[in-house]
């Protein structure tokens, strides 16, 4: 079963990390953001949040990389760091081989045009006093000084691409539902035909059918225009569907990166496995009968991450070494990487799927207290 994938993964052209020597569109190395936590009238720093704690990944030209993980694990912060909406504490972000942190003036403006973001919260991300024509058309005005008429024509095209009619042109965001607002935000991000769109939960607020339209739109844009995406989402079935590779984040670190199909069907990291097991399945019968992996304990505070492997307080496979040593990324048999001691000590999986270990502790989804 796994033989076929074992050989190919590494040289896969879509894999930004391929050894072919080609520069990936986006190259992130050692990215770190530590937020100070301030207290009291003097705003003294009382602690630090390691929101993003040394993250490495690439996004190839025209590739869709999915980024998933627990709430608070640092996904949005990663997106903001890449765009330099906030300054990293450490690490580098290269776009087309150029370090974004070193750019200034015109070059920074260009880089910003090439990278756009669609935000998580469609409510607070749109200016309530601007009409749809203003919001979506603003980039045309700022960058190309287009006349209002030209601008409106462009805006109508973009609205059509995201499934909104031209009659919305003069309406204000308040008059739209959540889903409609998110489509407006996608339209705006598309305006300058960027090379990379960082889409932070772009479909989370949308209904199924509209989600499909937006995902199809992203796939279209990727295929037609070669736009690459960092697709942040928590719906693994959508991420799996749309992405070629997936990166899984836990408490500021990437625990597993690899081919989307492999991650989805043969996870290498215990957290990925738990994440998959938690997805609700759209079938009531299956939901009643299925078993789920129990995650022990509470999610730990990012102020005070656990020693060693930061997942060890909740991991069902934890070994003695796990609370002592931080596991380093090791290659998987399918061309990805995983950071977990199971691969290098104990059962020494050497990058093979977790399923080879046999059964884990599970509980029925619904305790047997019918009626």
């Amino acid at each position: 079963m796994s033989d076929a994938t074992e050989v190919t993964g590494v040289t896969d052209g879509t894999d930004g990390t391929g050894p072919s020597g080609a520069t990936p569109l986006l190259r992130v190395r050692g990215l770190r953001k530590i937020f100070p936590v301030r207290k009291g009238v003097l705003r003294r720093t009382v602690a630090h949040v390691r929101a993003v704690d040394g993250v490495d990944f690439d996004v190839g030209t025209g590739e869709i990389l999915g980024l998933v993980g627990e709430s608070g694990s640092g996904k949005s912060t990663t997106g903001r760091l890449i765009l330099r909406l906030i300054e990293p504490t450490e690490g580098s972000v290269e776009l087309d081989g150029k370090d974004v942190r070193a750019l200034g003036g015109e070059q920074l403006r260009k880089a910003r045009r090439d990278m756009q973001m669609v935000f998580q919260d469609p409510y607070s991300s749109l200016d309530p006093l601007a009409t749809v024509a203003d919001v979506v058309g603003e980039p045309f005005q700022v960058h190309f000084k287009m006349s209002r008429k030209e601008r409106d024509k462009k805006v109508v095209e973009l609205l059509e691409q995201v499934g909104l009619g031209s009659h919305h042109l003069r309406r204000f965001p308040a008059a739209f539902s959540g889903g409609q607002r998110q489509r407006i935000a996608v339209a705006r991000a598309l305006a300058l035909e960027p090379k990379l769109i960082i889409a932070d939960e772009p479909v989370s607020a949308l209904d199924m059918s509209t989600q499909s339209q937006v995902v199809n739109l992203l796939l279209d844009l990727q295929q037609r225009l070669g736009v690459a995406f960092l697709f942040i989402a928590h719906d693994l079935s959508i991420v799996h569907h749309a992405s070629s590779r997936i990166a899984v984040m836990y408490l500021g670190a990437l625990v597993e990166v690899g081919d989307a199909e492999e991650i989805y069907t043969r996870p290498r990291h215990p957290y990925t496995e738990a994440l998959l097991s938690a997805i609700p399945v759209p079938d009531p019968q299956v939901e009643r009968d299925r078993e789920r992996i129990v995650l022990r304990g509470d999610p730990p505070s990012p102020l005070n991450p656990p020693s060693g492997c930061r997942y060890h307080t909740r991991c069902n496979y934890a070994m003695d070494i796990c609370s002592v040593e931080d596991p380093q990324p090791t290659p998987t048999t399918s061309g990805g990487t995983v950071a977990c001691h199971l691969h290098t000590s104990g059962p020494t999986l050497n990058g093979r799927p977790l399923s080879e270990l046999g059964s884990v502790q599970t509980i029925p989804v619904r305790p047997s207290t019918t009626s």
Partner: protein, 338 residues
Amino acid sequence: MASAAAPGSGVARPLLEVTDLSVAFKGHKEIVTVVDHASFSLRAGETLGIVGESGSGKTVSSLALLGLLPASARVTGSATFDGRQLVNMPARKLRNVRGNDISIIFQEPMTSLDPSFTVGNQLAEAYRNHRGGSKRAATARAAEMLRLVGIPEPQRRLGEYPHNFSGGMRQRVMIAMSLICSPKLLIADEPTTALDVTIQSQILELLKSLQAELGMAMIFVTHDLGVVASVCDQVSVMYAGQVIEQSPIDDFFTRPLHPYSAGLLDSMPQSVAKGERLRMIAGTVPPPSRIPVGCRFNPRCQYAVEACVVTAPDLEATGDGREVRCIRHAELSLEISR
């Protein structure tokens, strides 16, 4: 599953019965009806899912129940909760119902928490507003609620401001806030949309266990059909301001009655191979000011016939506990195979 015989209700009288609820907004020139004669009901301890296209009126109908719409909204129809009429109930009485008997979790976590007060302050106030008691007791209750929704170090977190929390954490705070007075009915509008699946499944389990414990009923507005399958007993589907189907979930997932319901089920990624274009319902939902004549779904319906552009179908009971608004429902067979 849902208690068919709800605790404490000798007769199976619904806890909430919504009949012909309509909501219209006064615009610049015209009056626009965005919810049109919506009817649904639920019993104590039961969970009703409301699904439907974005803009179909799910949020507006939930807000209408609690008198939370802006003054430009006109609400008509009836919504009886525990024998009391909610529509046009005086503001003071309604405030008492709200938070005490009925709680709501909003769709937008950022805008529903006040950025200038600590989370602990807001939670404790929510409790004291309805239940009184000392500040100290309320703060202890607040910490307990934060722990219940899975926020680490609840004591310390009480003293922090909303902007220090991630999107998902803010939503968990909202959930804690809405449950702090142990309501009889919880209306949750996309409560887990901002959450990752492990926390989502913990919150869903939490809501289910609180429901079993308190006999709390829930209305779950969501577009996640997986969530519907895992927590709901009944599902109501809305399209362009109308309820177009209400069914028990098992029937809904295997044998939807309305072509729009079938289209929704078909648009899930599970229906196609990886990387393929997802199926979707062609076209877009009409704006409330341009509702088509006849069946509102007719411009997008692959089963539309001539009669569909003439006659506006009523919501009809099918006799087996389901309701549907489609003139062809008896002849169509929309089985879902996956």
